[in-house]
């Protein structure tokens, strides 16, 4: 009569034990099996009950066993008892004689139960309050129940959801939306090569739900991560440049010369290139887990030094196939402008500066200037740009085969003319249970992206731009072109120059016919200023990328608890970059070109194509065993990965183009080309053991042995160990009463240590090789030559990170408030640095060696809450993180050579032993020498000072001003970063607000170098107007020196404190207001669910910074020069309207 399911016995069972289980339409027997695994309890069940039990759907997270069992046997009259020896008995209830139930005027109520996403919820228990009567929703989430009277109250219960009570109130149709429980501590997290219950995790892992990412109208998933996870710093240093990825840093900085990008693992695939992460359709993402500490990341060994970002895409679930369509449409606009002079003030300033400097100015500026143009150049280069997204998704399948397929289209014009991004993505995820014990999975996700870029960094001359903005030529043969930054130009361009000429040509400021001439031979404007609209509307720098990421696995379970899995993945990439400057565009090589007067000499055309193939083969064996209260999980791994790429470059030699008819190097009879190759391999073994005792004492240890072709023959292999342990204090019986008093239901202490590596050092930096193409000549004949290059370092190896991390997890009020805090100490050892060689070595002046040491330590806090405020469901997540860097060793020297913040402001940053990274050095301005007395009484520059020069603070007090008076003016790495997400749900409305910010950071306003120049033929920031020393009004209180100032510190040639601004900001990243349409509205149009919403992305920014974007950073991810803005892309405000339909 009794069916024994399991035979292990230890002690008395408790129905209060918490379990987590997630099944859909599963037989009860299967559920009990899983519960046995989790609890170690045996279930003894009446055969009659188990055979008549219907399949159940349960989504329980850290829920007590009794509740789960009640669901299993909800429709049964079963009795659940805790027996001795870890047994639980389920038997037929001996019913008392039933009292006659008098049903008065039974009313039939029906409706649909959905979750907050609008998906129907089958298996929801619907009970009449105060009675034993009830039903469950069917496969479509529909239910029908007879209630005795109109004042009856229905209770909707579903594990994992907030229980809801609804009064019938004369209604016959009642649709209910159940809200998710706040369950940060109760869910499952993805770890390297597996998953783990959040309750037993001992490492620092941040989890971000896919819907938080998909809900933001941004071009890359990375951007949407900002503010969502503590310890994960996302900086949109390129503003809203379409398709540009932000810089993502996990727990600070590990390397000065190698990449600081985390490793991205998409559905188990460790990506060769971080850029491939940004091609994932945000709508496909189920969740993102960030392995922050080394204890969790070390399983990825040599590539995990900067943390691991694990992306899991949506997979199909058995059940009815669902279709969904979602779309949004919106517009982006620039809502911050930099104040520059308008015409009248500009003209006045031209006259003033000309008078002071003894220069001529055009006679056209004398007298009435109201007829002259008054162009706002910022308005001329920016536009309101559309943005739209359309996605289709189908998901479903049978018990045997499940699928999730999607296709998406994202199109975005940039707010800067000439910038544009479109992305087309498709994905199929397939899972099949082939035969008993064998599972099969397959994913393929082809995508195509097209990006039009424009120069958006550096100064008006093009100097100091980020090389990624260059038009790429042919290495060694045709130089890259760095066009002037139109953003920097727009600020300095004279407002009295119109955008276009009467004939439609782009107006150049130095055109004689403009009438701003100084003499018959001299134009007023400098000849290296070109109309930014001309550049933006004509130059082309286009990237087209095809990428296909695919993977397949076969999983075999020969005995229960053991899984053998083999995984094959491949990435195929093809990226074509096309650059073209037409003969009609005026720039350095063709200053006089225009549409009506094209110049062949200025044509520039180049193409390059990168093709790469990467494959990975991973084999894992996982053994998961519960023996009484002992739970073991063992993992073994062997993996191999190989990457190959080739870039082909082609360009026409500049000056040799003979036609404007084709926009291609083919327009030149003199095309040249070259190729570039890359390859690398990894081979790895890894093992991990996870153990817990009664889910109370937790322990994990892992080790990985990696080998890679990237390193010197003497040092190809390295071992990366890690350990971590946790103690769930709240599970200790002696602590329970105490904690319960404090309303604490979970208290976990955890900590760990691990070593990880940074393999992002480029391939073959250890070899010395032969450089071809170092040619010579004999008269007019080329002779071909080679030179030896590089300096062999057979010992070259990984940068190693040692990280110790401790944390605490605390849950209050039955997990209504979940608090997490982490502290980490991270040391990078053997940082790759260039070690200087004596120059007499000749063929190399330095070589790459593992030299430096850098430490990062930091704190992270995270709070999650979920409360019902009346009828409003409120969930919030708040996080705050901070870290400090310190350089410990540079392999001998006490400092690396100082580097410029940007062109012209030299020696601003210097990596120094004992100092943090990112300190900005420069001079402190204390005023202006207004008269001879000032000049006599204050320290002066060694090269001499004149009246009108800046007075500089004598930092070292030696009575003279020289380079030794430079001091720290700011720091480019922030003190704190934080994020705050609030979501509210009220009836059919939902509202979410995401706030993110950075505190305690400085930014160098590099535009000042051009916008406060004292040049009489350029516009300036408004703040400069009549705010400089003028000999005519020497007593005027001014900030800036005389435009004549020639001393060694003046706005043009040194960083001063006035250029270093407070870069702290608070940004409201996202506000979304949604409305879920009611069923009655939908029935008519055959739609199951529908939600319409309005989103504002970046609606508000609070900052003291005077530039467009306090996140701007001209050199992107370079850790040694953080916080420089010059000619960078602004952040746009985006407003969209969107709809989601489910069918």
């Amino acid at each position: 009569i009794f069916m024994l399911l399991t035979l292990l016995q230890v002690s008395a069972a408790s129905l209060a034990q918490h379990v987590s289980i997630n099944v859909k339409n599963a037989p009860v027997k299967e559920v009990l099996n899983q519960l046995t695994k989790q609890t170690g309890y045996n279930f003894i069940c009446d055969a009659e009950i188990i055979s008549s039990a219907k399949p159940v759907t349960i989504n329980a997270n850290d829920t007590d066993l009794k509740t789960v069992l009640k669901v299993c046997f909800a429709s049964e009259t079963a009795e659940i008892l805790a027996g001795d020896n870890n047994t639980i008995i389920v038997r037929k209830k001996i019913l008392p004689p039933a009292k006659p139930v008098v049903v008065i005027a039974a009313i039939s109520v029906s409706g649909k139960v959905t979750d907050s996403k609008g998906l129907s919820l089958p298996g929801v228990s619907v009970a009449i309050k105060g009675t034993q009567q009830g039903t469950t929703s069917d496969g479509n989430g529909d239910y029908t129940i007879k209630v005795p009277n109109t004042s009856a109250i229905l209770v909707f219960t579903f594990i994992g959801m907030v229980t809801q009570e609804v009064a019938v109130n004369n209604r016959t149709i009642i649709n209910v939306v159940l809200a998710d429980e706040a369950h940060v501590l109760t869910d499952v997290v993805v770890v390297g090569y597996g998953t783990q219950s959040r309750a037993t995790v001992t490492a620092a892992i941040a989890k971000v739900d896919g819907k938080s990412i998909a809900s933001q109208p941004v071009s890359t998933p990375g951007e949407a991560l900002a503010g969502l996870a503590a310890g994960v710093q996302v900086q949109s240093d390129q503003g809203s440049k379409p398709g540009a990825a932000p810089t993502i840093r996990v727990r600070g900085i590990s390397s000065l010369s190698s990449s600081n990008d985390p490793l991205y693992v998409v559905d188990g695939y460790p990506l060769e290139s971080a850029s491939n992460f940004n091609l994932i359709n945000p709508g496909d993402i189920e969740s993102i887990e960030v392995l922050k500490d080394a204890a969790s990341a070390a399983i990825y060994g040599s590539r995990a030094a900067n943390g691991v970002v694990i992306v899991t895409t949506k997979r199909g679930k058995a059940g009815k196939t669902t279709f969904s369509v979602s779309a949004y449409n919106g517009v982006q606009s620039v809502n911050r402008f930099i104040s520059v002079l308008k015409r009248d003030q500009y003209v006045q300033q031209v006259k003033d500066l000309s008078r002071i400097k003894g220069l001529l100015y055009p006679t056209a500026l004398d007298g009435d200037v109201s007829a002259l143009p008054d162009v706002d150049w910022q308005k001329a280069i920016f536009r309101n740009a559309p943005l739209r997204d359309f996605e289709l998704n189908a998901s479903g399948g049978s018990e045997k085969v499940r699928f999730n397929a999607s296709a998406g289209l994202y199109k975005q014009q940039g707010v800067l003319i000439g910038t544009d991004y479109s992305r087309y993505t498709t994905r199929i995820n397939l899972d099949a249970d082939l035969v008993d014990k064998v599972k099969f999975g397959f994913s393929i996700s082809p995508s195509y992206a097209e990006q039009f870029r424009q120069p958006s960094s550096g100064q008006a001359s093009g100097a100091g731009a980020n090389p990624s903005d260059f038009l790429v030529g042919v290495p060694g043969l045709v130089a890259n072109v760095n066009l002037p930054s139109p953003l920097n130009q727009a600020l300095t361009f004279q407002p009295i120059v119109p955008v276009y000429k009467a004939n439609g040509d782009i107006q150049q400021p130095y055109d004689r016919d403009l009438g701003y001439n100084l003499s018959p031979t001299a134009a007023f404007s400098a000849s290296n200023f070109y109309n930014p609209v001309g550049i933006l509307s004509q130059s082309i720098n286009r990237s087209r990328a095809f990428r296909t990421l695919s993977s397949t696995f076969l999983e075999y379970s020969p005995i229960s608890d053991l899984k053998l899995k083999t995984y094959l993945g491949a990435t195929l990439e093809n990226e074509q970059v096309h650059a073209y400057i037409p003969g009609t565009m005026a720039y350095g090589s063709a200053p006089t070109a225009s549409a009506s007067n094209p110049s062949l000499i200025g044509i520039y055309a180049s193409d390059n194509t990168r093709t790469s193939f990467d494959w990975v083969w991973e084999n894992t064996a996982t053994y998961d065993k519960q023996i009484g209260k002992h739970h073991f999980n063992l993992l073994g791994l062997f993996s191999a990965q190989k990457y190959n790429s080739q870039i082909n470059y082609t360009a026409g030699l500049p000056g040799t183009f003979i036609t404007t008819a084709v926009q291609s190097p083919l327009a030149s009879p003199n095309t040249v080309g070259t190729e570039l190759f890359d390859a690398n391999t990894f081979v790895s073994y890894a093992g991990r053991v996870t153990y817990d005792y009664a889910k109370k004492y937790l322990f994990t240890a892992a080790v990985r042995d990696d080998g890679s072709s990237r390193f010197g023959p003497n040092n190809r292999y390295a071992i990366f160990p890690s350990f971590s342990a946790g103690w769930r204090v709240s599970e200790e019986p002696f602590m329970k009463p105490f904690l319960e008093k404090l309303k604490i239901n979970e208290l976990k202490l955890r900590g760990g240590y691990g070593r990880t590596g940074n393999a992002n050092i480029g391939s073959f930096t250890y070899v010395n090789s032969i450089a071809l193409n170092t040619n010579y000549a004999s008269g007019s004949t080329r002779t071909f030559g080679t030179q030896q290059t590089g300096f062999a370092n057979p010992d070259l190896t990984w940068e190693k990170n040692d990280q110790t991390s401790v944390g605490i997890d605390l849950s209050f009020l039955n997990s209504a408030i979940v608090f997490t805090a982490d502290y980490f100490q991270r040391n990078s050892n053997g940082m790759l640095l260039k070690k200087a060689l004596p120059l007499d070595v000749g063929y190399a002046s330095s070589y790459q060696a593992n030299l430096g040491k850098l430490s990062n330590n930091g704190l992270e806090f995270n709070v999650n809450t979920g409360f019902n405020l009346g009828k409003v469901r409120w969930n919030a997540n708040a996080n705050l993180s901070t870290y400090r860097t310190k350089v410990l060793d540079l392999g001998g020297p006490s400092a690396l050579p100082a580097v410029a913040a940007m062109n012209g402001w030299n020696n601003v940053y210097q990596v120094q032993v004992g100092q943090p990274l990112g300190l900005m050095y420069g001079y402190v301005v204390t005023g202006v020498f207004k008269n001879a007395a000032d000049l006599a009484n204050n320290p002066k520059a060694t090269s001499g000072n004149s009246i009108g020069d800046w007075m500089i603070k004598d930092i070292n007090g030696d009575g003279k001003i020289d380079a030794n008076d430079r001091t720290v003016l700011g720091h480019g790495l922030p003190d704190y970063t934080y994020g705050l997400t609030n979501t509210f749900q009220y009836k059919n409305f939902d509202l979410s607000v995401l706030i993110q910010g950075v505190q305690g950071v400085s930014i160098i306003n590099g535009n000042n170098r051009q916008t406060i120049s004292g040049n009489n033929n350029q516009n300036s920031r408004s703040v400069y107007y009549k705010n400089y020393f003028d000999p005519a009004t020497p007593d005027r209180n001014v900030t800036y020196p005389s435009p004549l100032s020639g001393a060694f510190v003046n706005p043009g040639n040194a960083l001063v404190n006035l250029d270093v601004e407070n870069g702290s900001y608070l940004r409201v990243r996202n506000i979304t207001l949604g409305y879920r349409m009611t069923d009655s509205q939908l029935h008519k149009i055959f739609i199951k669910t529908a939600r319409i919403y309005v989103t504002a992305q970046n609606p508000f920014l609070i900052t003291k910074y005077s530039g467009y974007n306090p996140e701007a950073n001209i050199m992107g991810g370079d850790p040694t020069t953080p916080g420089v803005d010059q000619g960078t892309y602004p952040t746009a405000r985006t407003i969209i309207v969107g709809v989601n339909f489910g069918f």
């Binding site: 043969l477 000499i601 062997f638 191999a640 190989k642 190959n644 030699l653 500049p654 000056g655 040799t656 003199n670 040249v672 190729e675 570039l676 190759f677 890359d678 390859a679 690398n680 391999t681 990894f682 081979v683 080998g707 890679s708 072709s709 023959p713 190809r716 073959f764 070899v767 010395n768 090789s769 032969i770 450089a771 071809l772 170092t774 040619n775 010579y776 000549a777 004999s778 008269g779 007019s780 004949t781 080329r782 002779t783 071909f784 030559g785 080679t786 030179q787 030896q788 062999a792 070690k835 200087a836 060689l837 004596p838 120059l839 007499d840 070595v841 000749g842 063929y843 002046s845 070589y847």
Partner: protein
């Protein structure tokens, strides 16, 4: 999977990388590597003027090019100067490439004649670089083999000046013994035995070994070339003419393998009037003093100096190295003479005069003067002949980066520059103090910081 399999799996070299370990195995590799040694001369002689001319009374920089050779112009250079470090780096790069060729030339199969030729050329180039180094910096680390480890790099300290000269003489003597006297086809332009002997003669002059100099220069002057008209020696289309003994070969064609003379020598305000496609940078502009050094009727003046008047300033620019149709900044096609017949004749004249053979010396001097359509100098005393020869060198070799070296060699640098400073002001500010320290450039500070065993030249920090 066995470790053996892994080893090959992670032992990858991509296409496009030529590891040193697989190179230098054929004669072609050696010859191509040797071309690479020659190739490294191009950047050196693009800017040789920065040390050979700018610090002298011959040329100056203007404010627009202050950042380039301003320190050399104003005599304010220091051990930290980037220009000096760049030059030092480039000389040693050429030496390293030459050492590498010499280290591998014995391995591949080739004829003995070719092996001799490659060996001789590499030694010639190495000697030429040590000659530049020893004259600019004094005794320097003497490196004669490829450095392959960091540890090895620190075993070299400064050799004596005499030891460096001894090595130069040895290399040139050995080179002259095995090099051919001339080349054909696309080998024209390589170092010949005549070039090796000519350079050796010049080296002796810098060592004041006038007897040896006279002997070898006598041979060279008899065989080395012809005094063709001066205006055919320089400029576009005159590569490898009969006056040239050894020159750095530049070529146009869009590959940045040409010279940058137009950029360096054309006055910036001239825009595109002198050179139509390149804007000059006024790095190296002749002084009025140089202009006045030409005797009336000197036919070389029109070839050597161009005059550009910007309205406010007069620029005496190096017309001999500039032609109007140059197509790009690095696209100059004309060559740079390192050793030429006019130079050798004057050195020979000088050697004769120093050895007391003033009449013979004047005969040689007058060969050069006659070409310049100047009247011969006759019957001068040894001292007057010395002055005449020195003045002749200044104008004959103007802009060819010989002046500073010559002034230092004669021991007259301080005196000449003091006088020059009294009458001239740099176009870009005051000239610094003229002191004997300036007879040598400092060893780049970077080198001394890296290897404290290296000593600095007197007067420099």
């Amino acid at each position: 999977v066995l470790p053996a399999c892994n080893k090959s799996f992670i032992d990858v070299t991509p296409q496009g990388i030529v590891p040193v370990s697989t190179y230098y195995t054929t004669e072609i590799d050696i010859k191509t590597a040797l071309n690479g040694v020659y190739s490294s001369l191009r950047p050196i002689y693009n800017e040789q003027y920065g040390f050979g001319e700018v610090p002298s009374d011959n040329t100056e920089t203007y404010s627009e090019s202050e950042v380039l050779y301003g320190e050399e112009d104003k005599l304010t250079w220091a051990a930290t100067s980037t220009n000096l470090q760049n030059a030092y780096t480039r000389f040693y790069a050429t030496i390293a490439y030459a050492n590498i060729v010499l280290g591998h030339v014995g391995t591949p199969v080739m004829t003995q004649a070719n092996r001799d030729s490659y060996t001789g050329q590499a030694k010639f180039l190495r000697a030429l670089m040590y000659f530049n180094l020893v004259r600019m910096f004094g005794g320097v680390p003497l490196i004669l083999t490829e450095i392959t480890s960091e540890q090895q790099a620190y075993t070299y300290n400064r050799a004596t000046s005499a030891a460096v000269y001894a090595q130069i003489e040895k290399d040139l003597t050995e080179a002259a013994a095995v090099l051919p006297a001339s080349y054909t086809g696309t080998d024209i332009g390589r170092a010949t035995s005549i070039a090796a002997n000519a350079l050796l003669g010049k080296v002796y002059m810098f060592e004041n070994k006038f007897t040896q100099a006279e002997a070898i220069l006598a041979t060279v002057s008899a065989t080395a070339g012809t005094l063709i008209p001066y205006n055919q020696v320089f400029g576009l289309g005159n590569d490898n003419n009969k006056d040239i003994i050894f020159s750095v070969q530049y070529i146009s064609g869009g590959f940045s393998e040409g010279n940058t003379f137009a950029r360096g020598f054309v006055p910036q305000p001239s825009g595109t009037t002198i050179t139509t496609s390149v804007t000059g940078n006024s790095n190296n502009i002749g002084t009025a003093d140089l202009y006045r050094a030409f005797e009336p009727g000197d036919a070389r003046l029109a070839t050597s100096i161009g005059i550009y008047n910007s309205g406010t300033l007069v620029y005496y620019y190096a017309k001999k190295f500039v032609y109007s149709s140059v197509t790009g900044v690095s696209e100059g096609d004309n060559d740079w003479p390192v050793l030429r017949y006019g130079d050798i004749i004057l050195l020979y004249a000088e050697a004769l005069n120093e050895n007391g053979k003033t009449t013979d010396a004047l005969t040689q001097l007058n060969l050069v003067r006659t070409r310049a359509t100047l009247t011969p100098k006759l019957g001068l005393s040894q001292e007057d002949a010395r002055t005449a020869i020195r003045n002749e060198r200044r104008v004959e070799l103007c802009f060819e980066a010989e002046r500073w070296f010559d002034l230092v060699r004669w021991g007259t640098y301080v005196q000449v520059m003091t006088a020059f400073k009294a009458n001239n002001r740099s176009a870009n500010g005051t000239i610094g103090n003229v002191v004997s320290t300036l007879n040598l450039f400092p060893i780049p500070l970077r080198e001394i910081q890296l290897n404290p065993n290296l000593t600095q030249n007197p007067g420099y920090l």
